[in-house]
Point group: C2
Chain length 212, copies 2
DNA sequence: TCAGTATCGTACCATACTGTACGGTCAAAA
DNA sequence: TTTTGACCGTACAGTATGGTACGATACTGA
């Protein structure tokens, strides 16, 4: 969107990299909006501005472009979604912060669209589902489980808590009903207060089950 | 699949109804497999056996057929998914039975495929998401909430339990991690033992939070 | 028996799709 | 300045799509 005309210091390798990025950004929007089958290479090429030949010089097929788009998207958002856990503190605060931030990130339109896309294509393209899982949920699960293990050792949580089980339940509760309703498109975007409320409810239930 | 040749008592109204059902059954499979954009009317017509003209004599457009397929599918499965709650007994047993059955139903391939389809199309066709929500999740939520209200009044659960909040959390926990992993297609179908284990964990956490 | 209708096969329309080909253009590298 | 190579516009191949048209045929209902 930001690279209308080539600027000065723009040659060779760098130029190619810029164009590639531009294609990926545009293709991402279209794929997220229309799904894999519903997306046309011609439209992408038209939006990029160049010719279809050029598009195919960067990505040999629709499939390849799709994979590249997802890889790029997931890599960008991996840090964000798994960086929601700050280790060390007491569960009451840490988990509340995690839960809020987690849901807020999940509810962003781009991430809802990504989830829809992944769900839709995971059946036909298992590697898509796998890539998504590895870069998102698996990370969140692991980070959270590690934090929980620490909290157990620190005496904040019940001694017999299974970190991975607890982490998964915490994620499910944090995700909440709102998230599903947003995915099904039966409710408008919630207010920040509703998100906070969901987080509180999640933490309350979690601590009732696993608190020391 | 089962109606190859017309049988004897087969005329007028009934005949038409049978053919309609046959088309719906076949179209359902194709839509669930390939999604809306990926599905071709020609393929459906070929699988049905007749001509494309006939297909269009029953459903005026791809859109109309799609809507009809979903309506039919949802109506058939509505009872099953919301009939998983048997009122009256103590939460320990009722909720365990619900949780197990709920997850087992959710994990059936046809329902996973339906969920994928609904997620995928809910963005573009809000009425699809709404119809699904009304016929599935909304029912489950309401039935469960009503049971929980009864259990609170019966002294089985904490007096300050909010039935709808508790119901939603119970559903989220029941759904579990497995369900997501199946949707993302990163794990094979779980054994019955795993399903039971998930249900136990869900009930344990639920009762820790809301038990009297 | 006979009219009416549902269905059939097939061809077709207009459009869209992915992917390729090709000659012209323009800017960077030598 | 000359060469190189990326990029452009456009056209095209080949196939598939949703949807229609139409005459032939088989079957239902009276």
């Amino acid at each position: 969107m930001e690279t209308g005309k080539p600027q000065q210091a723009d040659s060779g390798e760098a130029r190619r990299e810029r164009k590639r990025r531009q294609i990926l950004d545009i293709a991402r929007d279209v794929f997220l909006r229309d799904g894999f089958s519903g997306t046309s290479m011609s439209e992408i090429s038209a939006k990029v501005g160049g010719s279809k030949g050029t598009l195919y010089a960067y990505f040999a097929s629709k499939n390849e472009l799709f994979q590249a788009v997802l890889e790029d998207f997931l890599a960008r958002h991996e840090a964000e979604i798994s960086g929601t856990i700050t280790a060390g503190g007491p569960p009451g605060e840490v988990l509340l912060a995690f839960s809020e931030r987690f849901l807020e990130v999940l509810l962003r339109p781009e991430n809802l669209a990504l989830l829809r896309l992944v769900y839709a294509e995971a059946g036909r393209f298992p590697e898509v589902g796998q890539a998504f899982y590895d870069s998102g949920p698996a990370n969140a699960e692991q980070h959270l489980a590690e934090y929980i293990r620490g909290a157990v050792e620190g005496g904040f949580l019940k001694q017999d808590t299974e970190p991975y089980l607890a982490a998964r339940q915490m994620i499910l509760l944090s995700q909440g009903w709102i998230h599903n309703r947003r995915l099904w498109n039966v409710t408008p975007a919630p207010s920040e207060a509703e998100i906070k409320e969901n987080a509180h409810a999640a933490v309350r239930t979690f601590l009732a089950a696993f608190g020391a």
